[in-house]
């Protein structure tokens, strides 16, 4: 428990304005008293910004139009036009809001609240907590604006890319695809822009629904529908946490609107705040939601399977935007991880849990990625790993590092997926990098491979890249922490960085270098990625002289080089990836860089700054040591990949074969390839008991319900029926005679009573 004051005093540095965040103050910080009270600027309610609603209405209009096209089964390219247009409109509005804010963003900027409509009002009494009222409105602060910017800009670019990528589906699911993508962006914007938790929940469920629809887009393939169901159900587990967290927030604070909520949190006295279990549960339940949506900790296995969706979807939803919704939630709800909101004795475990979940997920994701042969799955596991870094960043106390990494990651991971998609698109859906090679030498693929190199460099956090700059902030914060556990997270994170560098370049060396080797995938005449020559231009670039057929059924297969739209989008996102690192080089304003300003002007601000300025790692100056260490592991990782997969392409395979042959190391290779058997573990832990329970219930149903109750009860009338059955002879006259005889008897009886004088 002695670490408690230590970690919280680290947070103290982050509190107050920049002037207080100096080393001297840190040295004296030893207890809760130094944390100081949280303060949140009261939102500036300004209906003049009601035009922001068009950011939601534009994608929704596209949803309506694409939905109409899908319903009426109209074939054509119009859905792509609507979608790109709507996203571009939203992006233009976000950028214009940014420019309105930019003069003041570098000062202290109050959040903007724009009430739009009444939504839910229920009252069941006059007392406190007996009325629930929530409006539909927008709440825009730094992190909202950041998310609005990169979501809309990336969505526009990726929709443009998809308009070409999905070309072969123009006669099939084109409208349905863009319907779901538009709905996704609308939901994502509702998620980040809503001014209350109920609106966030609406968007949260909306993006989950769209994710489900798009993973299962190729609905004729059983794998795709299974993956969609898996993603949907695992997300529901997390969403349960979010729903419970919202309930508890409402019962504890009486409001779910951010403005009122954070004022209520800030007004709590940090010294006397006593945590109740219901307050203490809030951060853990929120973390559960994060684990579902951002594929963390125990709930990450849906994300690799989500790669069944079309690749633009993987890039947009399962790499750049939706999966960062969890990070957004953590940053938005950051006050709940400090002791003011939930009580001091709970704050520390909550933060450490966040950190460890992120750290371990990052490590597991990276180790699994090393064992995959499907390059898209490698990138999927790298996304899990990167998201783990972001969560760890928030857990170790640097929302700035976490959010900065979200921003840079969105660009380079979208780039990686889009290049992977371009390769799949061109190679008839071939996703196994052992069956491809030397793509640098294949005409039309050079831009793609160069873009992928850039993406891999960023994924590997090569020195001076945007990714490294943002990742190092997280590692710096962790490694300079006074808390032992947090430093361990930092060292594990550093190791993960090395592994990441290895697997990123394992993919690139295999795909780009070496002799040209192409075995086309299964889609040569199949779904989605089939090429119908609909691009008009160099769709069938011939490269017969490169021996690309490999004699593996590739007769007459011609790689299908990316067209103008895909190339353009790749180039723009590559430039964006590079520029994402710019904030770290530009002049800082009052000690804070561009991204930091977004975070500082948000509810995550209390953990926005980096750790102590003159901290030490291993007894040396922290900045220099970290740079050397981080660069070292990256160079080692890339070097290892070079040795195993580029310099001698057979070496990696031989190493793997010898590992499989060695009993002590076999589990390592197999475990990595099979995702450490987490899926199988779930099957054993949840699937098997559920199966046993189902068998038990089926037994009860068959023998108790059907057997004892239904059949036994049914036999009673059957028994009596058999007694009287002989009376039924089948002769109508016999029945009639019985009837007549009966009536005759009744008549005789009445007459007998009458004659005997009984009726008088």
């Amino acid at each position: 428990m002695t670490m408690q004051p230590a970690l919280l005093s680290t947070l103290a540095l982050a509190l107050g304005d920049g002037a207080h965040a100096d080393g001297g103050h840190a040295a004296q910080a030893a207890g809760y008293a130094d944390v100081g009270a949280l303060q949140f600027a009261k939102a500036n309610v300004d209906a003049g910004y009601a035009w922001l609603k068009w950011m939601l209405l534009a994608p929704l209009a596209s949803v309506a139009l694409c939905g109409l096209f899908a319903l009426l089964k109209v074939k054509g390219r119009w859905p792509a036009v609507f979608t790109v247009g709507a996203f571009a409109t939203a992006a233009a509005l976000a950028v214009s809001l940014y420019f309105q804010w930019s003069p003041t963003l570098f000062g202290t900027h109050a959040p903007l609240a724009v009430p739009l409509a009444d939504w839910i009002t229920v009252a069941w009494g006059d007392g406190p907590l007996q009325a629930f009222s929530v409006g539909f409105g927008l709440y825009v602060d730094g992190i909202t604006l950041l998310w609005m910017l990169f979501v809309t800009v990336l969505a526009t670019l990726i929709a443009l890319y998809a308009s070409e990528y999905m070309e072969s589906d123009v006669k099939a699911g084109y409208a349905r695809f863009f319907f779901a993508v538009s709905l996704f962006v609308a939901s994502m914007l509702i998620l980040v822009m809503s001014d209350n938790l109920v609106g966030l929940y609406l968007g949260w469920e909306g993006v989950g629904l769209c994710s489900y629809m798009l993973i299962g887009y190729y609905a004729t393939q059983p794998g795709a529908t299974a993956a969609a169901k898996k993603a949907f159900i695992m997300n529901r587990v997390g969403d349960l946490g979010l729903a419970l967290a919202i309930f508890l927030i409402w019962t504890n604070y009486g409001t779910v609107s951010y403005d009122g909520l954070f004022q209520a949190v800030a007004s709590a006295d940090p010294l006397s705040a006593q945590g109740s279990w219901s307050k203490a549960a809030i951060p853990f339940l929120l973390l559960m939601a994060v684990c579902g949506k951002s594929a963390q900790g125990p709930l990450f296995t849906w994300l690799p399977d989500a790669m069944w969706g079309p690749t633009p979807v993987s890039a947009l939803i399962h790499a750049a935007t939706m999966v960062t919704a969890g990070i957004y939630l953590l940053a938005r709800m950051a006050p709940f991880y400090t002791q003011q909101a939930i009580g001091a004795e709970w704050a520390e475990p909550a933060l450490l849990t966040v950190g460890w979940i992120g750290c371990i997920t990052a490590f597991l994701g990276a180790t699994i990625a090393c064992g995959q042969f499907d390059y898209k799955r490698v990138f999927a596991y790298s996304t899990i790993s990167s998201l783990g870094y972001m969560v760890m960043g928030l857990g170790v106390g640097t929302a700035f590092g976490g959010v900065y990494y979200v921003f840079t990651h969105a660009w380079f991971k979208a780039l990686l997926f889009l290049t992977a998609g371009a390769v799949m698109h061109g190679m008839a859906g071939q996703v196994d990098f052992r069956k491809l090679g030397g793509l640098m030498k294949v005409p039309g693929f050079r831009l793609t491979m160069v873009c992928m190199l850039l993406g891999c460099l960023y994924l590997a956090t090569a020195p001076f890249s945007a990714a490294a700059l943002s990742k190092d902030i997280i590692l710096y914060q962790a490694l300079t922490s006074p808390v032992d556990q947090v430093r361990w997270m930092g060292w594990l994170g550093l190791l993960t960085a090395g592994i990441t560098a290895y697997y990123a370049f394992r993919v690139w060396f295999r795909l780009a270098l070496g002799p040209v080797h192409i075995e086309p995938g299964p889609d040569q005449h199949g779904h989605g990625d089939d090429h119908h020559g609909s691009h008009g231009h160099d769709a069938h670039a011939h490269h017969g002289g490169h021996g690309g057929h490999g004699g593996h059924g590739g007769h007459g297969f011609h790689p299908h080089a990316p067209g103008v739209r895909i190339s353009l989008v790749l180039a723009v996102i590559a430039v964006g990836s590079v520029l994402a690192g710019l904030p770290s080089y530009l002049e800082k304003s009052a000690g804070y860089n561009w991204i930091q300003r977004f975070v500082l002007n948000s509810t995550a601000w209390n953990r926005a700054t980096a750790g102590p300025e003159h901290a030490e790692i291993l007894g040396r100056d922290a900045h220099g040591t970290l740079f050397v260490l981080a660069t070292g592991v990256v160079v080692l990782g890339i070097g290892l990949a070079w040795v195993l997969h580029a310099a001698n392409r057979g070496l990696g395979d031989r190493l793997r074969a010898s590992m499989l042959a060695t009993p002590g190391l076999k589990w390592l290779a197999l475990g990595s390839e099979h995702g450490w058997y987490v899926d199988q573990l779930y099957a054993a832990m949840i699937g098997v008991p559920a199966w046993i329970g189902a068998q038990l219930l089926a037994f009860v149903d068959r023998f108790v319900m059907d057997g004892v109750i239904v059949t036994a009860v049914g036999r009673i009338p059957g028994f009596f029926g058999r007694i009287f059955q002989p009376l039924y002879t089948g002769s109508v006259q016999g029945y009639a005679l019985t009837m007549a005889g009966g009536i005759g008897l009744i008549v005789a009886w009445v007459v007998w009573i009458w004659l005997s004088g009984g009726a008088s």
Binding site: G730, S731, A736, A740
Partner: protein, 115 residues
């Protein structure tokens, strides 16, 4: 005693002899119908016998309606006629179908329906 019932009825005209005759006719008609139904095996004739019993009942209604000077009895007859017409259409249709199945009008051909 019937006489007492008649005496108590305010609107009852003193026509018991006619009533009794009519009721006798009704009973005879009903008896013919019943005997016909019980003795015949031809489904069309059995059906005609039920019609006879119907008409016997209708006649009794008319007789009592006349006795009470009440139109309800005759109203009932209209209903009986309507039902009889509908039943005739249905029953003859059924008979035709049954005949097509077994090429006979005897109802004994359908004795297996007892199960």
């Amino acid at each position: 005693m019937p006489a007492a019932i008649l005496a108590d009825a305010p609107l009852a005209p003193a026509m018991p002899a006619t009533l009794q005759l009519t009721l006798c006719l009704s009973v005879i008609l009903f008896g013919i119908g019943l005997v016909g139904f019980l003795t015949r095996r031809n489904m069309i004739l059995m059906f005609l016998s039920t019609e006879l019993m119907f008409q016997a009942a209708a006649l009794a209604f008319v007789a009592f309606g006349r006795l009470w000077m009440d139109l309800s009895g005759q109203l009932m007859v209209i209903f009986i006629l309507t039902v009889a017409a509908a039943e005739a259409a249905l029953a003859l249709g059924l008979v035709v179908l049954l005949y097509r199945r077994k090429e006979t009008l005897s109802n004994e051909a359908w004795a297996e329906l007892k199960e």
